[in-house]
């Protein structure tokens, strides 16, 4: 009986630890009704940070909310940050996806998702009294591509950005320049067969031409004028993970590049605590 009570208490504590409020909401933007989930931890202080989490191509916000391997809700309780999981629209293919200039999106997909995320951020800052200067962005795959596009176009709107298995499409680099420094993080598997480490300069694989991942990350480090680097091998769990930390930026913006040796197209949660690493990176850039 005593054992049963302990077990019950433990279950209650675990549940309570992630028992903030999750709401499904909508907003009107660019003539469309856009949906999103907002997660507000218990006892969230006023002016708390806001973290956007963007799903991948063909995916949806709900699956990210329910994904048990992504510990963002638990981390939100611990770090006292609000989470927003926006839903992408359907693109011309037709699949759910963010408009990042894939070949079938160019000139056909009218929605400007960078504007949408920024408008949504402003809405949430007001509605839930969240911090505009402590707003962060992360996303996986197509959501990672959005991270690069936002770094090009909306760097001032975010305190830091973390891309998981994201890419810089050549089209992004053609259309935009990095005009503002931005604290940036990339996690990428060298064995990722979807978003290839070595890039795809000729669009051989159909996602559009894109930069080699080290070149894409190097462009952000160059925009920040990072001067020095430090290479650290993380304690090995599954795949070897190497952190390339680029620092010494006169703007105080670092770039952290996690190279997951032989890692695939995923959040790399089996090789290191990537969600916590993202939160720790964001925490570095939280201001009063």
């Amino acid at each position: 009986m005593k054992k049963f009570l302990i077990l019950l208490s433990a279950l209650f504590v675990c549940h309570a630890a992630s028992a903030g409020s999750l709401k499904s909401e909508t907003i009107e933007d660019q003539g469309l009704t856009r949906s999103y989930y907002i997660y507000l931890p218990n006892d969230l202080p006023a002016n708390a940070p806001l973290v956007f989490i963007l799903h991948g191509y063909g995916g949806n916000a709900q699956s990210y909310v329910n994904n048990s391997s992504l510990k963002f809700k638990e981390l939100a309780e611990e770090y006292k940050v609000a989470l927003c999981y926006p839903q992408a629209t359907t693109d011309p293919r037709p699949n759910t996806g963010w408009n990042v200039y894939y070949p079938w999106q160019i000139d056909k997909m009218k929605v400007d998702d960078c504007e949408f995320i920024c408008n949504l951020a402003k809405h949430l800052h007001t509605k839930y009294n969240l911090s505009a200067k402590n707003t962060f962005l992360t996303g996986m795959s197509n959501g990672g591509e959005m991270c690069y596009l936002m770094a090009y176009r909306k760097a001032k709107e975010f305190a830091a950005i973390a891309s998981m298995a994201g890419l810089t499409l050549t089209e992004m680099a053609k259309r935009h320049d990095y005009t503002e420094p931005i604290a940036f993080m990339e996690v990428h598997g060298t064995g990722d067969m979807t978003s290839r480490w070595e890039g795809d300069p000729t669009n051989q694989y159909g996602w559009g031409a894109y930069l080699a991942v080290p070149v894409a990350v190097g462009a952000v480090a160059a925009a920040n004028k990072c001067m020095y680097q430090q290479t650290t091998e993380l304690p090995q769990i599954k795949n070897k993970v190497i952190l390339h930390r680029y620092y010494g930026s006169p703007y105080g913006k670092e770039v952290h590049f996690y190279e997951v040796r032989n890692g695939g197209h995923n959040w790399a949660t089996d090789s290191f605590d990537s969600c916590r690493v993202i939160m720790e990176f964001f925490k570095k850039y939280m201001t009063e």
Binding site: T170, A173, E198, G199, P201, A209, Y210, L211, A212, P214, V215, G218, A219, A221, A222, A223, K225, C226, M227, Y228, Q229, Q230, T231, Y246, G248, P250
Partner: protein, 267 residues
């Protein structure tokens, strides 16, 4: 019969060409007697101009901005440091101008050095053991046809005061264990090697790269060349990392002069 002779001659020419190609991968020893050396002062800087005796004034010029080679006190003919580098201009058919430059945050004097070769068809800048090529690439990207740096990186002060604004073609040679210009950079002294190269790759908007490893010479470390491609207006970047402690030309490890010149002459 005439046709057979013609085909045979073409085959012979091809074989000779192939042999030349293969020997180009190793340093060629050429007698220095066919070179002319002259000690001069250009724009207030001591310099030594080395050129093949019979070279045309319109030949390309490679300006080597060196730190302090005590050129003042050395007879030009006794130019021991850089002697191999000097010899190579006989193979490459270019004029070499070695300038005592230091490592200043102002590279403007290099434009005056270039102006002292008004007939040159092309002019290249190579900084040796200093970051002047990077500074010049920031301050005067249009002045030289291509830039190169051996065993040095971006000067942090110059980087704080300037930015890369235009694409340039650039070659960099660096030993991984260089104890002066350290690979990861030295705070307030030298920028990290990959970040220095990366700054050029970024401004060139290169999209991808290829990597080639050289067969190591006896007892020497591996030399790896990363070639960044797809840059704006055909600009590219070559980055030679040398497994070595050298803070010099790294010429014991590979045929560095050939590689640099082969890069320059494509621009």
């Amino acid at each position: 019969m005439k046709k057979i002779f013609y085909i045979l001659s073409m085959c012979l020419l091809f074989v000779v060409a192939c042999e030349q190609e293969s020997t180009n991968n190793e340093e060629q020893v050429v007698s220095a007697t066919a070179l002319e050396y002259a000690s001069v002062t250009i724009a207030g800087h001591n310099a030594v101009v080395v050129k093949p005796e019979d070279i045309a004034p319109s030949a390309p010029v490679v300006i080597v901005a060196a730190e302090d080679l005590e050129l003042k006190t050395r007879a030009a003919e006794q130019l021991e440091i850089n002697f191999k580098a000097a010899e190579h201009c006989l193979i490459g058919r270019y004029i070499l101008c070695i300038v005592e430059a230091g490592d200043t945050a102002d590279a403007s004097f290099l434009a005056d050095i270039k102006e002292s070769f008004p007939s040159a068809s092309k002019t290249y800048l190579l900084s040796y053991c200093n970051g002047l090529a990077y500074t010049a690439a920031m301050q005067m990207p249009d002045t030289f046809n291509a830039f190169g740096c051996v065993s040095a990186t971006i000067n942090p002060e110059a980087y704080k005061a300037n930015s890369f604004t235009k694409p340039v073609s650039f070659v960099h040679v660096h030993a991984t264990q260089n104890s002066i210009y350290k690979w990861n950079g030295v705070e307030n002294s030298s920028v990290s090697v990959p970040l220095s190269v990366g700054a050029i790759v970024a401004i060139d908007e290169c999209t991808h790269y290829t990597t080639t490893d050289f067969l190591p010479r006896d007892g020497k470390g591996v030399v790896s060349c990363t070639h960044y491609l797809g840059g704006l207006n055909g600009h590219d970047v070559k980055f030679y990392s040398v497994e070595s402690t050298s803070n010099g030309w790294c010429d014991a490890e590979f045929e560095v002069y050939n590689q640099i010149w082969n890069f320059f002459k494509t621009h």
